[in-house]
Amino acid sequence: MMLFGPGHRACAGCGCAVTIRHVLEALEGKCFVVNSTGCMEVVSTPYPESSWEVPYIHSLFENASAVAAGIETALKSLSREHEGKVVVIAGDGATADIGVQTLSGMMFRGHDILYVCYDNEAYMNTGVQMSGLTPLGAHTTTSPAGKSIPGNLGPKKDMPAIALAHGAKYVATASMAFLADIKKKIRKARDITGPSYIQIHSTCVPGWGIDSARSVEIARLAVETGLYPIFEYENGQLVSVRKIKNRKPVEEYLKVQARFRHLFKDERGKEIIEKIQEIADYNAQYYGLDA
């Protein structure tokens, strides 16, 4: 049985749908899903249809962590914890921006909840606006590459560090390019009692301006350039990183996406690319990515 069923309306090549399917497979359907407003909710639940073969609730854009806390608390109160793990599946905007307070409260109170952020690096559902996880240099509809400003000027908010600062017992990143790794990490988080946070880099074909057939390959490039470090913290300690053999220059990742196209047009773009390379170099050094 498909747990995230066929027939959903996600775009061809949607990385987020792939991510969700594998999250649910790893949990073998023994879970309660709380989904924030966003692409994945909209494509999967057009009444009277639903793609979810697990108990599922969508409430609002910014309250998934609180709703999940309510489910977890109710299961405890009704002695039904055995039914499964409470899992939040939320976009990057829901996670890093508008829902960060409810996420903070949930982690602080120590609820037994697995929080999965599918990170497609912008508000895709409303038409590709900038979020707190939009990377440096990216063109979005609210950080457009213009004549005087070359796209998004800030780096990604460090959500894993924020989760770690709350004392989350398990904090990890993953990528839809490495599905077995997603499943392994989801199972690990499931078996921990308490809050855990997993951020999964997931492509968006229209939002990034990529070829749908190259979705996985482009996600892999983000890892191979060091721009999306894949790591794992247990009890606050870094326990594993995905090593990179012959780290690729960031241009290889940037040049295949329309959202970075403007960076290749002038001197100013070149400077931004240099800064993006610095981020990759920093990641490589900080997490020890180079094999």
Partner: protein, 392 residues
């Protein structure tokens, strides 16, 4: 068990006997004593509910959305800014037909900041799909809290309820209250049987996306549920009266209306003041009566129309204003008399805003002004001074 207790303690006691599975709340004046007392019951092991100290009212009500959807009986309480912060979630909870019960300790909304009583907070949420019940005194607030669960949890209704009690005036006052016994409550309120809820044994989707093809029907069935709630409220009130020997059987309560020429319509604790003023007017030969609105949503259209059948005029006293128009309750009451043949004259007053004391003498004076034709039909602020000081 009759005892002199603070209003907040009476509410906490009622909640203790109702035994919600999950309570989530965030502190705000004048709601605090309710949640503090509930916390004490839990700390002392007298109440077994799970209590979540939420990070905001927005989170508190969201937590209850999750808990209620999972099949738990839930409770929260808030006031003013806290209720305003819940606004988005209120529509969501009613739309998912979750029978959450909340006690609102009514308080004014900022700016300017004001922690004192009026009813702008809950009246401003009247379109949110929540049943709204207003209490006149502590006993009624205590009783309505239990009744609200029975109404909301009924499969024919399945809408959340707000029990509104005036902040400070009721939450912080002491009155003798006939407090519930555990066994009475167990007898009156059946265990919560959610019928549809989130479980891995039978996976359901809550909170789907409804396109224009479906959305209207979702709203339509909620409106029908509100209609059914009217019947259910009457039924639950009647059952309550049979068992506890107190309370009303209708969505409104009438006082000296049998031969009244003029009806004074109000809600909440102001009713007691209005009643006193009416008694004084009766002594002077003025045939006034009182219509107390207990259920503001669903609105007691039929009851109010019937109660106004023989009067020449009515006056609404309310503690809110829909800025740019008039008092919300005034508008609602006028809509009910629109189809009457001999439509009574209509007067409305906003009084008691931001905790301004409302005296019997003020109410009496305003009623007399209306009767004597010194006021034209319409809506007024009952008590305005100092405007010049504020404008300068």
């Amino acid at each position: 068990m009759k005892k002199v207790v603070e209003g907040s303690v009476a509410i906490a006691h009622a909640v203790k006997t109702i035994r919600p599975d999950v309570i989530a709340a965030y502190p705000i004046t004048p709601q605090t004593h309710i949640v503090e007392r509930l916390s004490e019951y839990i700390a002392d092991g007298e109440l077994k509910s799970e209590y979540v100290r939420a990070d905001s009212e927005f989170s508190a009500i969201s937590i209850l959305v999750g808990a209620s959807a999972t099949g738990a009986r839930t409770f929260t309480s808030t006031s003013s800014q806290g209720l305003a912060l819940m606004h988005e979630v209120l529509f969501n909870a009613s739309g998912m037909r979750l029978p959450i019960v909340m006690v609102v300790a009514n308080r004014a909304l900022s700016a300017p900041l004001n922690i004192w009583n009026d009813q702008q907070d809950s009246i401003s949420q009247r379109d949110s799909g929540w049943i709204q019940l207003y209490a006149e005194d502590i006993q009624e607030a205590h009783d309505l809290t239990l009744q609200a669960y029975k109404i909301s949890e009924d499969i024919e209704v399945r809408l959340p309820s707000m029990v509104c009690m005036d902040g400070f005036i009721l939450t912080h006052a002491y009155e003798p209250v006939d407090l519930f016994e555990d066994e009475e409550v167990q007898k009156f309120l059946p265990p919560y049987d959610p019928k549809v809820y989130l479980t891995t044994e039978d996976p359901l989707t809550f909170g789907a996306l409804a396109t224009p093809e479906y959305y209207t029907e979702f709203r339509y069935v909620m409106q029908q549920a509100m209609e059914r709630a009217k019947k259910k409220i009457r039924k639950v009130f009647t059952e309550f009266k049979e068992m506890f020997n107190r309370g009303e059987e209708s969505l409104i309560s009438l006082y000296k209306m049998e031969d009244a020429d003029i009806a004074i319509i109000t809600l909440g604790s102001l009713t007691s003041t209005v009643r006193e003023a009416v008694d004084r007017l009766r002594d002077k030969g003025i045939k006034a009566g009182v219509v107390k609105i207990i259920s503001y949503r669903p609105f007691p259209e039929e009851e109010i129309r019937k109660s106004l059948d023989k009067v020449n005029s009515f006056i609404v006293f309310e503690k809110d204003i829909s800025l740019g128009h008039e008092g919300a309750v005034f508008t609602d009451v006028k809509s009910v008399v629109y189809h009457m043949k001999d439509r009574p004259s209509a007067f409305g007053f906003a009084v008691g805003l931001g905790g301004r004391d409302v005296r019997e003498s003020t109410i009496e004076k305003l009623i007399v002004e209306c009767i004597e034709g010194r006021k034209k039909e319409g809506f007024y602020f009952g008590d305005v001074k100092r405007v010049k000081e504020i404008l300068k």
